[in-house]
């Protein structure tokens, strides 16, 4: 009985954040006056759209590198792939597959670079990854705004700015919805795209399998303690780079899935927010900076987007100002990441202090 109580307590502590979000949403849903069927439809759409991106964050967490804010690099690679496919006029699933093939080497390269940079800044990976994403975003803009259409040939004039070179700010995809239309089935008025869901399930299976491989075990060892892992003969730096490469490549596929659902690319501002929303979704699901599961990712995505849909409307109905709800959901997105980071860091500091006290006690005992 004692143990059972404990496990309930543990469950409550671990899922404090999701429960809080369920509470917020349950207040906001009636206020927003949305119908149930509408909410279900929206959440199913958004789950198929976003889950893959959120899942791409899992492996760096396992390797002890925190939330990979550098997943934006992968997202940018994915966008480049989609832009080229749109230029060549390849349509449908084939187009998306080719986009993935083009962007895979780019994201491997970027992932390698990112991993190497992060190895030089151990202990502050998250801020470095975030700044790296902003830095690469500058190079990405340079590539698309000045090189495409002038040095790199772009045939489709619809993609180009009126001055003759540089990619437009918004691009309609020919490949829009290609994955979603595979095996789309209507269940009680809610259309579910089993094609995309199958891809997401595949990546879940991959992640679960990967944890059990030699490389996956090494990553967990590195995540636990780099020094111990190093003395156990694991190449720490190499393992960390591999974790980031996998995450970047997955983020690239994730962005392609996301964009084929949306149907248009917001060329220059689209990728920046990807990491924030993915990180917030993962953390809302009850993950921490050092522990994240597939369940966290899926539950988090559903809850986060439920709030995302409901909040602006609830805010508008409550106060008459649409902007208030908009700011509130941005505040919540940033706030949730802040709180999760603070809690994690605080816990680590407490652990360190405990270790120090323990050490003193041991020294005294020795004397």
């Amino acid at each position: 009985m004692q143990i059972k109580n404990n496990s309930i307590e543990k469950f409550l502590i671990n899922s404090a954040v999701p429960i809080l979000f369920i509470l917020i949403s349950s207040i906001a849903i009636p206020l927003s006056k949305f119908s149930g069927i509408y909410l279900v439809r929206e959440i199913v759409t958004r789950l198929t759209r976003d889950t893959f991106l959120v899942l791409s964050l899992l492996i760096p967490v396992m390797a002890g590198m925190g939330i990979n804010f550098g997943m934006v690099l992968g997202a940018m690679a994915g966008q480049i792939g989609l832009i080229f496919v749109t230029d060549w006029g390849v349509k449908g699933v084939l187009g998306l597959v080719i986009a993935m093939i083009i962007s895979t080497p780019i994201s491997i390269l970027l992932g390698y670079f990112s991993g190497a940079v992060l190895n030089r800044s151990k202990g502050r990976e998250m801020i470095t990854a975030m700044m790296l994403a902003l830095f690469i975003s500058g190079i990405y803009q340079f590539f698309l705004l000045y090189l495409c259409g002038s040095i790199i040939p772009i045939k489709n004039y619809k993609l180009l700015l009126s001055r003759g070179y540089g990619i437009r700010n918004a691009i309609n995809l020919d490949t829009a919805g290609a994955f979603d239309r595979l095996l789309r089935i209507k269940i009680r008025g809610v259309s579910v795209s089993f094609g995309t869901i199958l891809i997401i399930v595949a990546i879940c299976i991959f992640t679960t399998w990967f944890r059990k491989t030699k490389l996956g075990q090494n990553m967990r060892a590195v995540g636990q303690d780099m020094v111990v892992a190093d003395s156990a003969g694991i190449k720490v730096d190499k393992t960390r780079i591999q974790a980031i490469i996998i995450s970047t490549v997955l983020a690239c596929y994730g962005q392609i899935i996301y964009l084929q659902n949306i149907g248009t690319i917001n060329t220059y501002n689209g990728a920046d927010q990807a990491a924030l929303f993915a990180a917030a979704a993962l953390l809302v699901g009850g993950a921490t900076v050092s522990r994240a599961t597939i369940t966290n990712a899926v539950v988090g995505t559903a809850l986060f987007h439920l709030m995302f849909i409901v909040m602006p409307m609830a805010g508008k109905n409550l106060t008459g100002s649409a902007m208030l709800g908009e700011y509130f959901r941005m505040f919540i997105s940033y706030g949730i990441v802040t709180i999760a980071l603070v809690l994690h860091s605080w816990k680590r500091q407490k652990d360190r202090e405990m270790a120090r006290v323990q050490f003193r006690v041991n020294v005294k005992a020795l004397k």
Binding site: G66, V117, R120, S121, G123, R124, M126, I127, T128, M130, M131, L132, L134, F135, S137, G138, I139, Q141, F142, L145, Y146, S321, M323, L324, Y327, F328, M330, F331, Y334, G335, V337, T338, L341, V342, H344, S345, W346, R348, Q349
Partner: protein, 344 residues
Amino acid sequence: MNKINQFIKNFGWPRIIISIFLISLFIIGPFFGIPTDMSLNDVFVRFGMNSILVLSMVPMIQSGCGLNFGIPVGLVAGLIGAVMSLEFKLTGSAGIFTAFLIAIIIAAVFGYFYGKLLNRVKGDEMIIATYVGFSFIFFMNMMWIVLPFKNPSSVQGFKGTGLRVTISVQEYWYHVISDFLKIKITEHFIFPTGMFIFFALMSLIVWAFFRTKTGTAVTAVGSNAEYARAAGIDVDKMRIISVIFSTILAAIGIIVYQQSFGFIQTFNAPLSFVFPSVAAVLLGGASVNKASIGNVIIGTILFQGILTMTPSVINSAISIDVSEVIRIIVSNGMIVYALTRKGR
């Protein structure tokens, strides 16, 4: 040869490259019809506008709290001060000093809690500061809508409630500091003496602070927290003092910026000050745990120089506007470079 190598090592490659780039922009500028005095004027005015914001990085870096990515906390305090002074409808120096006073008080309170938070998360200050800053901006966005501001020039015209996105200070305290003792050197070059006196004053305060007993203790905490603790310094208290100091400087800095720019920018505007301010102090040669006033001066001149010169010169030279992209690459690249260097 050794001396040159030593100089390069001390000065750092990024700074040398950017200095050469900036000087060459100044040299080729006149050939493309950009008068040198106008460029100089822009650089000096922008130096005055941004230098205090960059200076606000110094106390926190010195105390080992890292780069102050949470500068929006101070900026918001400054905005509150500015908007409040408009509420009282004060003009001229009375207006701007009221703004300073309110901003300093609010910044001290914000800084205290911000410092408390950062003490709980030692080692992760920078990423958490970034997110604290961002979430704080969006929290204040809601407040700007909700709080009952009355002055018609600051609230939205058609509704009468909620702040405007840009509030003109033209009728209140526009250029109060900029125009103080200004010297007109040529037609396009007006030297903003007041701004430089003000910056000198602020630098003097920072310089003097680090010579006091408390200031030395703050530096000691930054260079080696364990050693400082062993020497009987209250580490947490020193860190809080440095955070309050940084936050107050940021609050003052944004008001100085606004009086020169002519507008109070509310809502998302503070977002655009975060990375440029951090990048500027790093460009000046600061590292993640060491910064001086010299770094601030060199960094601000270089950074603002690039910012003003690249659009005008490169646009007229090759008629392509790459300045925005160059700004993003230089500022963020600089921060990444600093983060990857082994500190201490």
